[in-house]
Symmetry: C2
Subunit: 80 residues, 2 copies
């Protein structure tokens, strides 16, 4: 099965990369843009069929490697 | 309204970052991981209420700045 993970900065954590993208968009004439936050999208192929186990293992991967729990949140979507 | 954009490498394009994450996960004991692809997640706040116009403008932003159309695909989700 496949897991799609979104990793994004917690609210309140400064996001200079998003700020830079926001400024660039404004400079390009996209005046309707008022804010940008940038995160990571991680897609994992898993050699397992048990959704409950997969959810638990992927959470563990996020805590250990994929996200920095001090400044980032994540959510996980599983699909067959 | 808000736009959430996923930018990911086209199939067939080499993803060394994803490969590195995949190797690290295997080393940490997550043997069920068979492949990883890493992309970008971009969240934009828009000062507009017209969903159709927003969709069109955000596509333009992706083509001009946020994605590299030679090697990347993107999809856009809008929410109020």
């Amino acid at each position: 099965m496949k897991a799609r993970i979104h990793v994004y900065l917690k609210p309140g954590v400064l996001d200079p990369q998003g700020q830079a993208v926001s400024n660039s968009l404004n400079h390009l004439g996209f005046d309707e843009v008022t804010g940008v936050r940038q995160g990571k999208l991680i897609e994992i192929d898993l050699n397992t069929a048990d959704a409950e186990e997969a959810q638990q293992r992927v959470s563990e991967m996020c805590d250990k490697l994929l996200a920095n729990p001090v400044i980032e949140n994540y959510d996980i979507e599983l699909s067959a």
